[in-house]
């Protein structure tokens, strides 16, 4: 089988965003197979809320049904019917926010979805946010970013609620509601607290409209890479300072994260003390693993997410690993693969599944990959994967020798 070369589609990213907001609905101008695409998220996130087996589905399509007549039905005037769907969804008691976007061929048709959403927003108690479709040109990261951008424009926010030393983190990629992200969010809050900052809102984090609206209480917006424009829009709307940072993954990136934020609030000295203390502790906790069986190894990082690609590669360098291009000939018997598992899982290699989608790991306990806690977890996982692969490889060699 040849793995598909295309990145995961735009709509997947919108689904991830919807799944990361409690009480969110998404109306997709498209056919019934919008559901089957949502099943990808269901496989990635054990707590996926998009298609509950009981109750209302969060993904709603405008197609007439599971018939093969979409091409024909698109030629009719669907405006009133689609407007009716918006009204029905907005009237659901559990609806906190409604997003709307289009399938690829519906987008081409130029259907006035934005206008229908705008009209509905005027008459509804629920914010209705239109996400411009990039189904034919964008990937899942664009989908996530544009969904956040639509929320940043469409969520009602009152300025003037600012609280001292409070932070809203905007552009966190909450791709699933599992303990890896619980751990990440806890670590982000902990790092910010170490600088004397209180996190009042994380976009997105699994919270509902209240969590989104809490951004108005922040005195600083920390912008992470997955929704830069949304952070800028919020900063402008709320007249709040903005600090754009990278993902704090790895020792150096975590230091940069802390220093950049600290500088923007005038606490650089405090950040340096935190870095000295926390960095040294993380190194002490991981040094046996790193020095005994990680340093000197080959690492292959393959992510569709450029930020994760860069940060993981940087981390591998920090651990003394040699980062190699995907597909190059192996010099090391046990190369470490830091890849997502959408198309492939290397059961016979040191594979550390990370990124979207991840079908093969669903942790029960917190497994962050950000900050100092994340470094410990990643070292643990890389080390375990390496030792298991090496033990398996040794057994295979023995078995071959016996033959």
């Amino acid at each position: 089988m040849n793995p598909p070369a295309q990145p995961w589609p735009f709509l997947n990213g919108v689904y991830i965003a919807v799944d990361a907001i409690e009480g969110a609905y998404l109306i997709v101008d498209g056919p019934y197979c919008t559901f089957t695409k949502a099943e990808i998220q269901y496989c990635h996130n054990l707590r996926c809320r998009l298609l509950p087996q009981l109750g209302h589905r969060r993904i709603v399509h405008t197609g007439r049904g599971p018939a093969r007549e979409e091409v024909q039905s698109l030629s009719t005037d669907r405006t009133a019917r689609v407007a009716g769907i918006f009204a029905r969804i907005c009237s659901r008691p559990d609806a906190q926010v409604v997003l709307a976007t289009s399938f690829d061929f519906n987008e081409l048709q130029g259907f006035p979805l934005r206008e229908i959403a705008r009209r509905q927003a005027q008459s509804s108690r629920v914010p209705v946010c239109h996400v411009p479709s990039r189904s034919l040109g964008g990937d899942w990261l664009d989908g996530y970013a544009l969904a956040c951008e639509a929320l940043a424009r469409g969520i009602p926010l009152e300025s003037g609620q600012r609280e001292r030393d409070s932070v809203a983190v905007v552009g966190y990629l909450q791709d699933r509601d599992e303990p890896d992200h619980v751990g990440n969010r806890r670590e982000l809050r902990r790092l910010l607290a170490a600088l004397g900052l209180r996190t009042v809102s994380i976009w997105l984090s699994g919270g509902g409209r209240r969590e989104l609206e809490a951004a108005a209480r922040a005195s600083l917006i920390v912008s992470l890479p997955y929704a830069r424009k949304a952070a800028r829009i919020l900063s402008r709307r709320l007249h709040i300072r903005l600090c754009e940072t990278e993902l704090p993954l790895g020792l150096v990136a975590t230091e940069r994260f802390l220093l950049e934020i600290a500088r923007s609030v005038g606490r650089a000295a405090q950040a340096k003390r935190v870095i000295a203390r926390e960095g040294a502790a993380a190194i002490r906790d991981t040094q046996s693993h790193v020095l005994r069986f990680i340093t000197g190894r080959e690492a292959e990082v393959k992510q569709e997410d450029a930020q994760l690609q860069a940060r993981l590669s940087e981390l591998c360098g920090e651990l003394g690993m040699r980062v190699v291009e995907p597909g190059t000939e192996r010099q090391d018997r046990c190369r470490v693969y830091l890849t997502h598992t959408g198309y492939d899982f290397r059961a016979d290699a040191a594979h550390v599944p990370i990124g979207y989608p991840n079908y093969v790991e669903h942790p029960v306990r917190e497994m962050p990959y950000l900050g100092y806690a994340g470094i410990r977890c990643l070292v643990d996982r890389i080390g375990t994967a390496l030792l298991r692969a090496e033990a398996g490889s040794g057994r295979r060699q023995n078995a071959a020798a016996e033959k």
């Binding site: 089988m1 040849n2 269901y42 496989c43 007549e69 091409v71 081409l108 598992t341």
Partner: protein
């Protein structure tokens, strides 16, 4: 794009069939972008991709699947298909997202049959088997056919590879083993080539297998179906008794409204067999939970087959939950992880867990028995999350 190609346990639906390409298959996508659409080059892109596949991989056949988008904008691959077939001799099987695939399948059958060299005197005992996906199913079907004095020359559908049936030209009949799912593919292509066709209810369970044997024998003649059935049953009697013993104290719940229960307890078109009757053959206690059935839907437990059958109405979520807690061991559900079942540590099953034939019945019984037995948190299920 398939939702998930590798991890069955994570799938949303329990009856979802994996769509992994076979070994050696090459999968390519045109990867149309907005720029391609706006520039009007999607059809050229398809033509180039088809040509590249044909030239670089030299496949024995190409399955072209077109989706809604190229069809909406009016792309038509017919000319490319014609060109590849005539220039390179590679057949292209084209299925479309917006049109029924049955006609494509029928057309493929017709063209493949047209290329088949039929013997001047075809063997009246030689048959082509259709609708048997697994090797185990094919094995048993061949055995039963042999019992009737029939010789299976090969199997087609789901496979469309006629190279696997070199003796097809000698066959004079087509026998469908499990025709469920193939209803829209007609038999006209076979009939037009002089085949007799036996297409009946699938042979699920003992009664289903007996009926299938009788029907096949009545159309094609040969040894008495009763005798074949008795011999085949005798060969499996002790294994069947073991399974029935394992399942004797197990309660399998079928829940739904009157219409659902009607389908699950009769031989109507949904599965082509009665699920309740099959479970009773396996020795299960079948408890049908009928939503909004009222007292009229209540029927006390009665013996059926080797098991029992009862009907219990329910009118609310709470009542359903109580019924699931009242000794059910297994529940029919198409959700891979049904919160109503998980609240009681129950496991589900679907018709996809059941196999045709007598050996299939034994394998199905074993699977169901294990699912009944292997439930987590024994004695501590009160700690499980409620769905109410």
């Amino acid at each position: 794009m398939t939702p998930n190609v590798s991890v069955a346990a994570l799938r949303y639906f329990a009856d979802e069939v994996a769509q992994d390409p076979g070994e050696g298959d090459v999968y390519l996508s045109t990867g149309i972008t907005e720029a391609d659409v706006l520039a009007g080059r999607t059809q050229d892109l398809l033509g180039r991709t088809l040509d590249r596949v044909a030239r670089e991989h030299r496949p024995v056949a190409i399955h072209l699947r077109t989706t809604c988008l190229p069809e909406l904008i009016g792309d038509n691959p017919a000319a490319f298909i014609k060109s590849i077939e005539s220039r390179l001799g590679i057949p292209v099987f084209w299925t479309s997202k917006t049109r029924p695939s049955a006609s494509a399948c029928e057309a493929w059958l017709r063209r493949s049959l047209a290329k088949t060299k039929f013997a001047s005197r075809r063997d009246p005992r030689a048959v082509l088997l259709c609708g048997s996906a697994s090797q185990a199913a094919q094995l048993e079907a061949k055995e039963l056919c042999a019992g009737l004095g029939l010789r299976v020359v090969g199997t087609l559908l789901p496979s469309l590879d006629f190279r696997q049936v070199p003796e097809l030209g000698e066959a004079s009949a087509v026998v469908w083993w499990n025709p469920i799912g193939w209803e829209k593919v007609g038999d006209a292509a076979f009939l037009d080539c002089g085949f007799k066709v036996v297409r009946y209810h699938p042979p699920f369970g003992l009664a289903g297998t007996k009926a299938w044997l009788e029907r096949t024998a009545s159309v094609l003649g040969g040894r008495g179906a009763d005798q074949v059935y008795a011999e085949e049953l005798a060969a499996r009697k002790s294994r069947l008794a073991d399974i029935q013993k394992e399942l004797r104290d197990r309660t399998v719940a079928l829940a739904g409204d009157m219409t659902d229960i009607g389908y699950l307890t009769s031989q109507r078109e949904m599965f082509g067999f009665s699920l309740a009757a099959l479970l009773c053959e396996l020795g299960c206690n079948v408890r049908c939970l009928v939503f909004n059935g009222g007292d009229g839907a209540r029927a006390a437990r009665t013996a059926q087959g080797a098991g029992t059958l009862e009907f219990v109405p329910f009118a609310s979520r709470g009542q359903l939950d109580q019924e699931l807690a009242r000794g059910a061991d297994l529940v029919f559900s198409h959700f891979n992880h049904d919160p109503r079942l998980e609240a009681h540590g129950l496991r589900g099953f679907t018709e996809k867990d059941l196999e045709v034939g007598m050996d299939g019945l034994l394998r199905s019984g074993k699977i169901l028995s294990e699912r009944c037995a292997m439930r987590p948190f024994l004695g501590r299920r009160g700690g499980l999350k409620s769905w109410l």
